[in-house]
């Protein structure tokens, strides 16, 4: 299955998807030392974001998000690619600065099509998402 999307940050990456139907902040929602979600009572508490194709709705939270994204990238704990419904400037800046390929505004319902654990290829430069399934 192919999905067209809008480029936020250039590049290509692929890997297993982690899907979260909510907003995400690098600050607070990602521990840059473990690559996991540390938030108590978070739906995905303890789940690993590192090296996943992370699928969510939009960015939120602290403007320090790009700093945490930088630390996560240095530690090898950043997501390999980002797919979201609509990016916002903190998230976009974080992806651009750290070189995480990222797309938004997909032309199909990503939450219908992509499940956690699916193998997904993201070509952000071309604005193309390929979902290969499990």
């Amino acid at each position: 299955m192919e999905i067209r999307a809008h480029m936020v940050s250039a590049g290509k990456a692929e890997g297993l998807a982690l899907v979260y139907r909510g907003a995400f902040s690098f600050m607070g929602d990602l521990d840059p030392n473990t690559g996991r979600i540390p938030v108590p009572r978070h739906l995905l508490e303890g789940k690993k974001i590192a090296n996943k194709v992370f699928v969510f709705t939009t960015g939120k939270g602290s403007s320090g998000g790009d700093c945490i994204a930088w630390m996560a990238k240095e530690n090898g704990n950043a997501p390999s690619a980002i797919i979201c419904l609509e990016s916002e400037p903190v998230l976009s800046g974080a992806a651009i600065i750290t070189g995480i390929p990222a797309v938004d505004k997909p032309d199909k319902d990503i939450f219908e099509i992509i499940q956690t654990g699916d193998y997904v290829k993201v070509n952000a430069t071309e604005g193309l998402i390929e979902v290969l399934g499990k």
Binding site: M7, V8, S9, A23, M27, G28, D29, P38, V39, P40, R41, T57, T58, G59, K60, G61, S62, S63, G64, G65, D66, C67, W70, M71, E74, E86, S87, E88, P89, V90, S92, G93, A94, I96, I97
Partner: protein, 419 residues
């Protein structure tokens, strides 16, 4: 994107590499949001503490003192931590000193606060002031009508060194009208404290999808500065709201119609007693009632808050550590007024740090074995980040409940009986 001749020289010329990289980043970011050009900024605000040193060095390389003002965010205090006997590594203390030295070379102002409007450094309506700190972004947008787009700390550094920001997002008038409407239902706010407004803001932030402006309708008009501030700054903690119009209180919202730009809202959120009770409960993350630390000043405390805390702790001996995050300037006024002495005599402390994300009492990597395992706060923003970043148990309640907890070491806070 269309660049001026000067901007083209900044990008392609043989000028400072830092400015070149900054413009390159702003153009890439602007392109992804279809910005047509860059615009000059009125002043900037950065955080050298949060900024990784490698990025700091890339962006400031060769940059001369800037013609525009740049100020800084709350700052960690390695020398003070060392004097307290905290295990500060030489490496992090030296990195701090290096960045601070460069900051001062650039001619930038060491304000060390997330609330510099309390120092008289504030934008006027329409000023373009890109800055790090989602809390001051939303405050400057909402309370003063400045044009501050939502952006990250690293992007704000690029704007500060280059003096430019893409013409996009909240810099554009057409994007400043509220798209979402919040209606308060059956709520009597007569007895509300700062914490109640924090709680409301936190709920709203969570309910608003995305980062488009919101209008809050149904509160008494001409709400106090401190209450309006508490309401708007909590939103970008649970969400991404960066401009909130409080109808009857903020400059772009004399009426609901003005706030909405005479359009219908895309969606309406209704808030009543149930939603607020659930939010208050959600902000409390604890099992036993032992309180080891109390944190005030998120956002950095006003002189009135400090005055109230001083009255509450006068003549008392605090069982827990108590931190008030405040700018050195507001602390100086508190000292001048006699409040600081009273608070320090009881056992409280002032620091120009971020008491939520950079709290030296709760952060294991700063406090080491002296880490407080639980903290009480009157700020929803603080409650959120103390739990998420420091990983400690959190008690959320009113100023009075927090001071009481600091005196007894026990939490007796209760969920308010909403009227």
């Amino acid at each position: 994107m269309r660049l001026t001749e000067e901007e083209k020289r900044m990008l392609h010329g043989d000028g400072p590499p830092g400015i070149q990289r900054a413009i390159e980043l702003l153009v890439t970011l602007g392109d992804s949001f279809d910005a047509e050009k860059l615009v000059p900024i009125t002043y900037g605000h950065i955080s050298y503490d949060l900024c990784p040193e490698a990025f700091w060095n890339l962006m400031t390389e060769g940059v001369p003192p800037t013609p525009h003002r740049v100020t800084t965010h709350p700052s960690s205090q390695p020398e003070i931590y060392k004097a307290w006997g905290l295990p500060v590594s030489d490496q992090s203390a030296e990195e701090h000193e290096r960045k601070l030295k460069r900051f001062k070379q650039l001619g930038w102002l060491r304000t060390e606060t997330c609330a510099e409007y309390l120092l008289g450094i504030m934008p006027k309506k329409g000023d373009i002031v890109p800055m790090g700190g989602s809390c001051m972004q939303v405050a400057n947008n909402s309370l003063f009508g400045a044009r501050v787009d939502r952006m990250g700390v690293l992007v704000s550094l690029a704007a500060a060194v280059s003096g430019r920001y893409p013409l996009m997002g909240l810099v554009l008038q057409e994007n400043r009208y509220a798209r979402h409407l919040v209606e308060l239902e059956n709520l009597d706010v007569t007895d509300w404290t700062l914490s109640h407004y924090h709680c409301l803001g936190y709920y709203i932030g969570d309910q608003i999808p995305g980062f488009k402006p919101v209008a809050v309708n149904g509160l008494p008009h001409n709400l106090s500065f401190d209450f309006t501030r508490a309401l708007v700054i909590s939103m970008p903690t649970s969400g991404a709201v960066t401009l909130a119009h409080v109808v009857g209180s903020t400059p772009e919202a004399p009426t609901l119609e003005a706030a909405l730009g005479n359009r219908k809202p895309e969606h309406v959120v209704r808030v009543g007693k149930k939603e607020l009770s659930e939010t208050w409960e959600r902000l409390n993350v604890w099992d036993d009632d032992i309180v080891e630390h109390v944190s005030f000043g998120c956002p950095h405390a006003t002189i009135d808050e400090i005055g109230r805390i001083s009255t509450l702790v006068e003549g008392k001996e605090l069982k827990t550590s108590l931190l008030i995050g405040s700018s050195p300037s507001v602390e100086a006024l508190a000292r001048h007024q006699g409040y600081a002495d009273v608070i320090e005599k009881a056992g409280g402390q002032f620091l120009p740090v971020c008491p939520s994300i950079g709290n030296p009492f709760t952060r294991l990597d700063i406090a080491g074995h002296k880490q407080a395992k639980s903290a009480a706060t009157n700020s929803a923003r603080s409650a959120h980040y103390l739990a998420a970043v420091s990983g400690v148990k959190v008690f959320f309640g009113t100023e009075e409940e927090c001071v009481e907890a600091s005196i007894t070491g026990r939490w007796k806070g209760e969920i308010p009986k909403w009227k």
